[in-house]
Symmetry: C2
Subunit: 237 residues, 2 copies
C-alpha cells in the first residue's frame, strides 16, 4: 500500500461524485457496494473507481466490495468535509438564494454563515433562518464568525470589489459565480463557475452530431462549468 500522498486533480474532481452517491446509498441502507456498482451510478468505468479510491488507501474487501458508510467517511475526511467551513454568500438574487438553499451548501462540512446584499428590500429578511445583512456591514459581520469560503453571486460589475473585500477580510477561498474574470492575490484560492459553459458544450456536440458517429468523450462524466480566472489563484505555501 504505497498511499501516494498526492491525489491527482482528476481524482479530486470525482470524489464529490462518489461522495454524493455514497450518501444516497448509506441513506437507503446499503451495506457494501462494489466498484462496479459505483461505476455504473457515476457513469464511469470500474477500474477508474478502484484507482481513484486506491489513492485514499485500501478500504475495500476483496470478494465483497467497499463498506459504504466507512468509505463515505474516508472520502469526507479526504475532502475536508469533516471540518466546519463557514460560507458567506454575497448577492442574494435568484442565484444566491438558490445556492443558500442548495443541499450541497448546507450539509456535510459546509454552513452558510452569512448573507449579504445591497437591496434595501432584501436586507433584514431571512433565507433558511439566516438574516441578510447589508454589504456595508460586511467587515463587521464576518469578524465575529470569519468565513472560510466566500461565494460571489453578484452582478458581474460588482464581483471584483466584493472579491477584494473578501480578500481583505482574510477569506482564503472564493467561489465565483459572476461571469467576470477576477484578480486576487497569490495565496487566495479562486474558482470560477459559469452556468452557461455546459450549454455551449452541448451546442458544440449538437452541431457536430452528424459528423463521425463517435460519442462525445465527456458524455458520461461531464466536464462542468469552467471559466478562466486570472492566473493568480493558488494556495500559498
Amino acid at each position: 500500500m504505497p498511499l501516494n500522498r498526492r491525489i491527482p486533480e482528476a481524482t479530486v474532481a470525482r470524489l464529490p461524485i462518489y461522495q454524493r452517491l455514497l450518501l444516497e446509498l448509506v441513506g437507503s441502507g446499503t451495506g457494501t457496494v462494489s466498484s462496479e456498482q459505483l461505476a455504473a451510478m457515476a457513469g464511469v468505468n470500474a477500474s477508474k473507481v478502484r484507482k481513484d479510491l486506491s489513492f485514499l488507501g485500501s478500504f475495500g474487501t476483496r470478494g465483497s466490495g467497499y463498506e459504504a458508510d466507512f468509505l463515505l467517511s474516508q472520502i469526507d475526511r479526504e475532502l475536508g468535509l469533516d471540518h466546519d467551513w463557514p460560507v458567506a454568500i454575497v448577492g442574494i438574487g435568484n442565484l444566491g438564494r438558490a445556492l443558500a438553499n442548495a443541499p450541497g451548501f448546507t450539509s456535510r462540512g459546509f454552513r452558510v454563515s452569512a448573507l449579504f446584499d445591497v437591496a434595501p428590500e432584501l436586507v433584514g429578511s431571512r433565507v433558511r433562518g439566516i438574516a441578510i445583512r447589508h454589504l456595508d456591514d460586511f467587515e463587521e459581520e464576518v469578524a465575529s464568525d470569519p468565513p472560510a469560503i466566500g461565494v460571489i453571486a453578484t452582478p458581474a460589475a460588482d464581483a471584483q470589489s466584493v472579491a477584494e473585500r473578501m480578500v481583505q477580510a482574510e477569506i482564503r477561498a472564493i467561489l465565483n459565480f459572476a461571469s467576470r474574470v477576477l484578480a486576487v492575490p497569490p495565496g487566495v484560492l479562486l474558482r470560477d463557475v459559469d452556468l452557461s459553459i455546459e450549454l455551449q458544450v452541448i451546442s458544440f456536440h449538437l452541431s457536430h452530431r452528424h459528423e463521425a458517429g463517435a460519442p462525445p468523450a465527456g458524455s458520461q462524466l461531464a466536464m462542468g462549468p469552467v471559466l478562466g480566472s486570472l492566473g493568480l489563484a493558488h494556495i500559498e505555501r
Copy 2:
C-alpha cells in the same frame, strides 16, 4: 494546415472561455489579441491557447496575433453558436429563474423558448417576457416550438420524470441541475451540473493547503461542477 476534424474534449471545454473573453474584448473595441494576452485573461498558458485555436484552423497572423472579431466568429461557428437553439427550462424556482436570466442563456445562439413549473402561483407569470406554463401542458407547448435543449432545474425528486418527458418530446440534449442521477436512452446527450462540487474541491484544497506547498493543479483554470450520470448519455450515430 492539417485541420484535424476531431477537436479534443479538453479544448472544447475551453472554447467557451475564449469565446466569453473575446466577446468582452470585441465589445471594448479590441482589434487584435495575442495568444499571450488571451492566456493571461483565461488563466492558462500561451501555448495551450495557440494549440487550442489551431484545431479550428490557422486564424492568426504571425507577428501580430489574432483579429478578435474574426476569431470570435470562428469560435462561435465551431461551438454552434451561429445556430438558434431554443431552450426549455423546467422548474422556475430560484435556480430556474437565475438560469432564465443568465446572460449565457439569453445570448449568442441560445433562446429561452419555454418555461415550466407546477406551482399555481407561478404559472401565468412571466420571466423576461416568457410566460411560465404548467408542466401539464409541456407536450402541447413544446410541439409548436420544439426546444433543442431541455434544462432541468426541478427538485431532485421530479428530475427523472421530467427527463423522460423531454426525451418523449424529442429533445436530444438535457442539461440537468438537479442533484439526481438521471437515466436517459442512448442518443440523448445528458450533462449534469452540481453547483456544490466546486465547494467540495475547495474544501479539499483548503484542508490540504499545509501539506506540500504545490499550487493545486486546477487552480487557474478550474475544473467545474461535475456530477456523474448514468452511462447512457451519448449522441447516436
